[in-house]
Amino acid sequence: MLASISAATLTGAVGRPVSVEVHVSNGLPGFTIVGLPDAAVRESRDRVRAALLSSGLPWPLRRVTVNLAPSGVRKGGAGLDLAIAIGVLVATGELPAASTDGWAFCGELGLNGSLRHVPGMIALADAIPPSLGLVVPLSDMREAALVRGEAAHGVATLAELAAILRGQSPWPVMPEAPATSPGGLGGPDLADVRGQRVGRHALEVAAAGHHHLLMVGPPGSGKTMLAERLPGLLPPLTPEESLEVTRVHSAAGRELPHGALVSQPPFRAPHHLASLTSLVGGGSWSMRPGEISLASHGVLFLDEMGEFPVAALEALRQPLEEGVIRISRAGGTVTFPARFLLVGAMNPCPCGEGMTRGACNCSVVERARYTRRLSAPLLDRFDLVVPLARPDPDELLSPEPGPPTAESAARVTAARALAAARVGHPEPPLQPAAKHLISQRLRAGELTARGVQKVGMVARTVADLLGAETVTEAHVSDALSLRMARSVVTQ
């Protein structure tokens, strides 16, 4: 009359093991769920009942009590449907109790008895004790197998699962994983961009040195186009990064690529009207990862940066510094990864024409109000503040494609290798002329101490991109020119 089934639920990006206890007793027919269920869990009664009946399995006309233990943890989502259904079957004697020993069940039920996708399968699979086998919907099997390997089994319908547990049929064989498309970087290519030498150069520097990039330019100067092509310049994710990114994407309920593992740096471009919670993550208690965590190990692109609410922009400062975001709510604290490359784009002023002299009709007040959104500390996080101009009409209309992503990516890879080889060795000294140029700027008050450090770092990346050993005056000049739009946004 009592069954106890292992399952898991999701809090933020972290799974927690849940024991689903089902008790069936005599009394008025009824169904009660206790143990802090949310609305989706409470509604599982109707799904479970319909699924059992559609699968040709009986629904007990007796009193059914479901307890989700530990009872202090909130349980959300429909992922407990399958465990409840199995629990009912065991408690009513339809399935032998021993058949579910050593198994955990995660999956949502359709009214027709089919098993449906559950978001965050990786985290759920992580939460199940390693000694247990895991039964998941067929569509989630690849995801579960990433962390459970052979112990994960995919099943298409409830009827099929009941037959297997009764020993009437064998576990289905895991279908062959589709080959991960090799080399297919996907995403748009830099060859589509005409002209924009400065923009391309800025992308390479940003990708090679992980320098956050702010592009300032009028509408139509290709800011968005360039930003979308930045992930193609970043190196593919390492296996650890890949798993971390996949975990977060899985927890956010995002559709994962074939083969389940996210292997390319993600690109996220939230709209400026996105809420603070959707950006940094959170929620009253379900604590979902936000855009900045989805962009982890990839690119977070904020178009129209001047239009984002100040609170949203300021919330970026801590993750930019620490690489993680800690979200605290009354229900507890969760930590999500947030190690992203920040790319901002903005017009120099509300009308956008501010860089072209005399063409701008914005008043001083309007311009100041527009640029004030970017606080000085946030602006300081951008090593590159690059002025962009509209491309030359001849170049724009030329049928010849621009240099492709592969070319830039090769330079970035080489530069990263040079930088990696330098780790642990003393920095090669700056050329005297380069040092002179920096100290000149420092004395003139055009650079702060922090600015000097940033220019030095960017100049080092520029030198790496050119394969140079010492940083020369030209590299420093280049680094200086890559931050010249600062004067536009700090009026």
Partner: protein, 347 residues
């Protein structure tokens, strides 16, 4: 209780609702302020109004007051009651030049305004301006740094600095010179008050110079008021492509004298019979330009006086970006090139 001075009644009349300059002039034309107040039958706490002005450090001047600027006496629009903070006498002791222009200037305009402001003040000329954002503010910033006391004419009450951003500049002008207004304390700065303010500004100036003005800009009110009074009006020439210079270039076409440097303003002053104690040498740029060779020369050739983006320069010179930036920095260090927000141009 001490008796109130006549200025207190003048301030009370000016503060009364519905009393404009015309009514005020009519009321004060034949009677002393206290008589005019009692005859007008207006109700109001004269003492409270008076104290409000005293507390804010505002001096109230009627045409009979000793501090009333002599140059306003006989002016067709001389304000019957004038409010000021600072020492009103400075406008009588120094020659005055109005530097006016648009509230959204280019960097060129800001630079010229600040330089003229500083140079004129150093020559002992009081710079008159409206304390607005843009050209006005830049001219006063320059003037406050050195020499003759600055003069400001504002549209609202003197107890509430407007625009807020110029509150500090406002205080400095009060300290070093004087701020005038036709309106009593408590009057808010509203758009429709600006033309009247500009007329007073013109009346207080020996010469009016427009630095940058858009087509139909507010500076044109100052210009027409100055022309009505026979005050010489000069304009600073600007690029024919810059909307901020549309108004000034049109003024030049209409016959205003062109202002290339402070010497031109001094010449205009001397034509009005005002001779400055110090002579001014015309600014000259006779320093031979340093010789530029190699790739830097190509970059210099590619640069024009209009700003170009780095992209354009890279395309024209076909140079590596790093090398191009290096060349530009070298040209900048010898004063042959400059940049603004990443756009490079020759100087």
């Amino acid at each position: 209780m001490t008796a109130l001075p006549p200025e207190a009644y003048a301030a009370a009349l000016a503060s009364h609702e519905g009393v404009g300059p015309a009514t005020l002039r009519r009321l004060l034309a034949s009677d002393r302020p206290e008589v005019a107040w009692s005859r007008s039958g207006y109700a109001g706490d004269v003492r409270a109004i008076w104290l409000r002005h005293m507390d804010a450090g505002i001096t109230v001047l009627t045409a009979d007051s000793p501090g009333y600027p002599a140059r306003l006496v006989g002016d067709p629009e001389s304000p019957p009651v004038l409010f000021c903070r600072g020492s009103s006498g400075v406008v009588s002791k120094h020659p005055t030049v109005a530097l006016v222009g648009t509230r959204s200037p280019t960097r060129y305009g800001i630079g010229v305004a600040a330089q003229f402001g500083a140079d004129l003040a150093a020559l002992g000329v009081s710079v008159v301006s409206g304390l607005a954002l843009g050209i006005d503010g830049a001219a006063h910033e320059g003037a406050c740094a050195s020499g003759a006391p600055p003069v400001a004419v504002v549209a609202g009450g003197l107890d509430d600095p407007y625009p807020r951003r110029h509150a500090r500049l406002w205080d400095r002008i009060v300290e070093q010179g004087v701020v005038f207004s036709e309106n009593p304390a408590g009057v808010r700065t509203e758009k429709w008050r600006f033309p009247k303010r500009n007329h007073l500004l013109a009346a207080l100036s020996d010469v009016v110079v427009v630095i940058e003005s858009r087509h139909g800009g507010g500076a044109m009110h100052t210009v027409s008021a100055a022309l009505e009074r026979g005050t010489p009006v000069g304009a600073v020439p600007g690029s024919i492509r810059s909307p901020a210079s549309e108004g000034t270039n049109a003024l030049l076409f209409d016959g205003c004298f062109p202002v290339r440097d402070v010497a031109d303003i001094v010449a205009a002053l001397s034509l009005c019979g005002i001779v400055l104690p110090t002579s001014v040498a015309r600014c000259s740029t006779v320093d031979p330009p340093p010789e530029v060779v190699g790739p830097d020369a190509d970059v210099l050739d590619a640069l024009s006086y209009d700003p170009s983006s780095l992209d354009q320069l890279a395309r024209v010179t076909d140079m590596e970006l790093s090398a191009l930036c290096g060349a530009l920095e070298r040209l900048a260090s010898v004063g042959m090139a400059s940049q603004d927000g990443g756009w490079w141009f020759r100087i």
